[in-house]
Amino acid sequence: MKRLLIAAAVAALSASGAAHGQEMYGWTPAGTVTPPPPAPVYLMFAGAGDLYEIESSRLVLETTSDAALRRFAQMMVEHHTGTTRAAEAAAREAGFTPAPPMLDAPKAAMVEALRQYDGVERDRLYLSQQMTAHKEALGLQKTYADNGDTPELRTAARNALPIIQRHLAEVERLTAR
């Protein structure tokens, strides 16, 4: 099913060029996005990722009694607010008017799942989501930094990479405790 959707998306892209309405983007074995998304799609994915980080971290800040996790969640809110601003600035510089970030359905479901749990259970689910979310964010930024179609946004993606790598290392450290 997924393969069919991707094949259809690739066909649609190559046929109609700029259509980025409902395509399905997948992952290469190397962990990069395929096909490389055009600027508006990249902005949408990156914005959704940042917004998920902010909303999920705020939920954990409401309930956690884990000091290390609290510091991490606060850092997520600050850094991902920053990466969204940087991407928006780069987009305007490149002549785009970026849409305000919006959660996609899977990320909205992740935030909703956190609401179902409290205390240490919410902490654990948050950390497991963070592992996945940061691996995907890393793959997205790598893809755009290497293959993006807009130079200003490629720079923004390159600048986001070390930040996300640091976050991922911190998630791994917190998980291994």
Binding site: M1, K2, I6, H20, G21, Q22, E23, M24, Y25, G26, W27, P29, G31, V33, P37, V41, M44, F45, M102, L103, D104, A105, P106, A108, A109, V111, E112, A113, Q116, Y117, E121, R122, R124, L125, S128, Q129, T132, K135, E136, G139, L140, T175
Partner: protein
């Protein structure tokens, strides 16, 4: 998403999508998506789990379970299980978490390898008359899990088929490596043949079933029964079996980040369960390379988001080539271990209804070849 990929007898390319009626309502969607937009597939998974499946995975994470391959054997054996996650979800939904009381379970032991191993005999309360018998082998990569973790499936078989179900414990690695579990599985089957009548079972109407590593054991017991002249099982229900040593199969390349089983977990199980990687080429592990001729009809159930999904596909193809009647269904949006979760996951309910229907037909009290293929 209740679409089922069905590949029937001989038609390798056939992929029929069927929408199912819904006697059990799935949970409401967790959040709406405002407008059609480009979508990003989940990383390291064949597809995204269905909402009810995801809620079990969320509970598993919330309980503190970690990817098995990051743990020691002791940690992996004691960490929260998918069964615990299902109970957490049921509790959140206000559903009872106690085992179905309409099935009575009795703990016994069977002799094997100079000692004994536990079995749990399930029987519908108040059932009378000689009942069909199903010997069930649990999963856990031959390393983890036990009769308690896998209580739901044998209990459900007993209720749905009005059958005696014997759930078999066997020796695990790394303490007892391959083929210890396989030897025990055979000894248990012979012991059940000899003792089933004492629990009200009819040993002539017997089938084998198993999940994951246990799906592999069930296949091997049918092969041993053929080779050694024991009463053959009338049917084999093999749920996401370990069946193919090829590490490059599509589902093993795709499911590097799936839970509760991912490709790296298979390597961890192999490391602890097998004497050496050479055991992977033993036909008892690599069932697709075994002599499969003359086996009873086989039902294979797979989850789409599972490194073992392709094993089911190649095993089904190998069985067809050997002339064995086989039906195989892949449940889209489901993950490894989904099968036992009929109370919480819609695909599990559907998979049980379908596969238990085939078992029921095979075990019907009709003379000469009942259940041999016709359905």
């Amino acid at each position: 998403m209740n679409r089922i990929r069905t590949a029937l007898l001989g038609s390798i390319a056939a992929a029929a999508l069927a929408a199912c009626a819904t006697p059990m309502a799935p949970p409401p969607p967790s959040a709406g998506m405002p407008a059609p937009m480009a979508q990003l597939a989940p990383m390291g998974m064949t597809a995204r789990p269905d909402a009810d499946m995801q809620s079990v995975l969320d509970a598993l994470s919330a309980l503190g379970a970690r990817p098995i391959e990051t743990l020691t054997v002791e940690q992996a054996r004691t960490q929260p299980t998918p069964t615990d996650a299902v109970n957490r979800v049921k509790a959140m939904r206000g559903m009872p978490t106690a085992p179905d009381p309409t099935v009575v379970a009795t703990d016994l032991t069977y002799p094997t390898a100079g000692g004994t191993q536990p079995v749990r005999v399930y029987k519908p309360a108040g059932a009378t008359g000689p009942l069909p018998v199903v010997v069930y082998y649990h999963g856990g990569g031959w390393v983890i899990a036990d009769l308690n973790v896998y209580d739901a499936t044998p209990r459900s078989i007993a209720r749905n088929l009005n059958a005696v179900v014997v759930s078999v414990e066997y020796r695990h690695g790394p303490e007892f490596k391959f083929p210890a579990a396989h030897d025990d599985a055979n000894n248990a089957y012979q012991w059940v043949l000899a003792n089933a009548a004492s629990w009200g079972g009819d040993p002539a109407r017997i089938a084998v079933a198993g999940e994951s590593a246990g799906g592999n054991l069930a296949m091997n017991v049918a092969i041993a029964a053929r080779d050694k002249g024991w009463t053959q099982p009338r049917h084999v229900l093999s749920v996401y079996p370990i069946a193919d040593a090829d590490p490059q199969l599509p589902s093993k390349r795709e499911n590097t980040a799936s839970l509760p089983l991912r490709t790296a977990t298979l390597g961890w199980f192999g490391q602890h369960a097998l004497r050496s990687p050479a055991d992977m080429m033993d036909p008892r592990f690599n069932l697709v390379g075994a002599n499969l001729q003359g086996l009873p009809p086989v039902t294979i159930v797979n989850a789409q988001i599972d490194p073992l999904a392709s094993d089911g596909e190649t095993l089904a193809a190998a069985l067809r080539r050997a002339g064995v009647p086989v039906e195989h269904q892949v449940y889209d949006g489901a993950v490894h271990e989904f099968f036992s979760m009929a109370d919480a996951v819609r695909d599990a309910y559907d998979a049980q209804q379908w596969s238990f229907g085939r078992l029921r037909t095979a075990l019907r009290k009709v003379t000469t070849g009942a259940g041999r293929g016709a359905e």
